[in-house]
Symmetry: C2
Subunit: 427 residues, 2 copies
């Protein structure tokens, strides 16, 4: 079987004004939809974060991809790595750096799995060795945010919205706002675990937000705080001491494996990361520093679903728990995340997802449905989804008109607070 065509479509999806350590989400988040088509006209889909560099990298990969056997991802990966640089190169030292390569590999791994799964009539999870669970739990993903719906409305709201669609337009800039957001989100989706994206407010406000969530949701509710590595070690220790017994895990309070390893000895809360250990090259350092207890996998950043299975083995062998990271995304990524989570025995934490913050979709079945915070694993061939080509065209048009070509939360923040600067360590 040969791949005869490769369609690469950048899209923009409406995203509300969410705050984080890097600044503010733009009114649109960018994604790239990749479609591989085989000679017998079966197609495979994937979705990766949108960036003009990734777009160019995917375009450059096309010549290597066309004519390849979708069942032979190992061979394809070898040819792409040989042509565009190995993972040993320093990031940014080559026109095609490692971060682009993993996105390209992820896009092709997932699309090949979807395509071949459809060709043999089996779900993608079977090509990862089969499922160990029928439902995949996700967590509520809370953000400090400004009022606004994002997209054309920007900081305005749609007064006709109801339910969660209305609630997600509201500002959340203090503990009470965060609790209200959590209640609305958990009401709608049934999430049992709750994560707050921190690093946006004064540390004590974020600690107080977690304490307010613990108060509102009761003891035992799995709570997580992610300050995105913007805290000093002393701050992280001081805040951590207040959150011992409250947090399920403490995600990236400080920057780098060494500081994480130091914090881990000082605070009695499991540490999680998707910032200090984010690639296979980081694993020796993870072992050396014992920088975390839990690694948040992300198939977009680790080079695909099969590579993520390898990460899962590392986690089992080296005593790391495994959870899952997310960015703003639509249903193709979500489907891939579900198949991966279903195959990994040690992915025992509810996964992150930004999905409730999005309203756009590119698949014919429409928006995925959560029941009790979980998504059922599809038994349909491939990823179990079909591309809505009209929706794709609309979101591509949205991409062309929105004017964004990459994500820059600092620039967005400066539109609200002129002169605002990202700081790698702020508090």
């Amino acid at each position: 079987m040969r791949i005869t065509d490769m369609h690469i479509t950048p899209i923009a999806i409406v995203d509300p004004p969410l705050l984080n350590a890097a600044g503010l989400h733009a009114p649109y988040a960018l994604r790239i939809v990749v479609e591989l088509v085989s000679e017998d006209n079966i197609y495979g889909l994937s979705e990766v974060p949108g960036h003009y560099d990734t777009l160019a990298a995917l375009e450059a990969a096309r010549a290597v991809v066309i004519g390849s056997d979708p069942f032979n991802f190992n061979g394809l990966q070898l040819r792409l790595t040989e042509r565009f640089g190995t993972v040993d190169e320093a990031r940014g030292s080559a026109p095609w750096d490692q971060r682009k390569l993993v996105h390209v590999l992820s896009a092709l791994d997932v699309a090949c799995l979807d395509l071949t799964g459809k060709a043999i009539g089996r779900p993608v999870v079977d090509l990862l060795g089969g499922k160990v669970r029928d439902r995949v739990d996700f967590s509520a993903y809370l953000f400090y945010k400004y009022e606004g719906a994002g997209g054309e409305l920007g900081f305005d709201t749609d007064p006709s919205a109801t339910g969660w669609a209305a609630a997600r337009q509201k500002a959340a800039l203090d503990p009470q706002g965060v609790v209200a957001q959590a209640q609305a989100m958990c009401n709608e989706f049934g999430f049992k675990s709750i994560k707050l994206k921190g690093g946006a407010m004064e540390p004590q406000i974020e600690v107080d937000s977690m304490l307010a969530l613990a108060e509102a949701f009761g003891p035992g509710t799995p709570l997580r705080l992610d300050p995105n590595a913007i805290w000093k070690l002393e701050t992280a220790i001081e805040c951590g001491k207040q959150l011992e017994g409250v947090l399920e895990y403490y995600e990236d309070p400080v920057r780098g494996q060494e500081a994480m390893g130091q914090l881990r000895k000082a605070v009695n809360i499991p540490l999680a990361t998707n910032m200090c250990t984010t690639s296979f090259e980081d694993l020796p350092g993870s072992v050396r520093h014992h920088s975390e207890d839990i690694i948040l996998s992300d198939h977009h950043f680790w080079g695909g679903l099969r590579a993520s299975m390898d990460l899962a083995r590392f986690c089992r062998v080296f005593g790391r728990g495994m959870s899952m990271h997310s960015n703003s995304h639509v249903g193709i990524s979500l489907a891939a995340m579900v198949h991966l989570a279903a195959a990994v025995p040690n992915l025992t934490y509810a996964c992150d997802t930004h999905y409730p913050w999005q309203s756009d979709e590119v698949i014919t079945q429409g928006r995925f449905h959560f029941e009790d915070g979980a998504i059922e694993v599809s038994n349909e061939p491939g990823l179990g989804i079909e591309l809505d080509r009209a929706a794709l065209a609309k979101l591509h048009e949205q991409y062309k008109t929105c004017g964004l070509t990459y994500r820059n939360d600092e620039i967005e923040m400066q539109k609200v607070e002129p002169g605002w600067k990202f700081m790698s360590t702020r508090w």
Copy 2:
């Protein structure tokens, strides 16, 4: 798809009187052939080392296997591990210890891959992500040995034998004998790399054998010596110094990760192991001690082909080379080894195989053919082999009449040298 039947057949295959650190090979080597049959009457094969414990473990696993989906090995592995103990248990602390569990998992992983590969019409290598090479190189595997053909002939020889079949009956108990064996084997199979099983003779004889091989085959020939961890550190250093620049790698000269790590600093030859790092639980210690440069994979001991792919990732990430270990085996194991080696980008060393020492076979195509020391990777569905049921019945009969139920090279050696005792460190 469901598995409706599981056939477990112990077999005995003729094995010549080969010497090693543990003693002497018996006239027959034991293997177990496992056949899984699906509801639509497709069958999948595998082969694992024969031991009455493994046989009992496989029989006990049958109730878990029947009714399982062969596409869902993850789920099957989880149920088997839950039922029979986890890998965290100390070896031998449970009736079904980890060493048996990995053999059972290996048997089921390979048979499920063969079965599902046949079901979807794709070779097993495609279910491991696809091939990165079309031919898999093997190495000549030399042994010190007594004269004899093994099997019924025992220490006698068949005078009608010709070519390699005649040469392999000859004794090899000194450097000249080893060189003659190597020349006959390389003539027949075209191997380009040469390994000598050591640990059987005085260390200086083994060093001299390697120097004689280097002399006979010329500089640059990849040579390996494997004393099976029976040497003291001082001996290994002393011998190693004589072999710097001669050996491609030095396999398990000493016992344990700590001693291997010490040796590694003292001798300028890459160290390889299939003794100190033989399971996923050993990997943290491997990193701590940096006990080797090269890990010899063995899908029988690591829990299957998919688990071996995980090991390959570990090797890439932690800077270990990868080669492949072998025991006496027939064509089912060899086919599985070829599919694995074809899928692993970093399996760059010629693989070990005992295959030239065997004459029996259980597959309809007959004995595998080596060309220039390599085997071509099959593109046929599954492992690309079919079971010769008449040959299987004959080898099962041979099992019942030979009287062996497990491998014990010490007892065999005592038949030649009464009172001989295995010593974990001899020289």
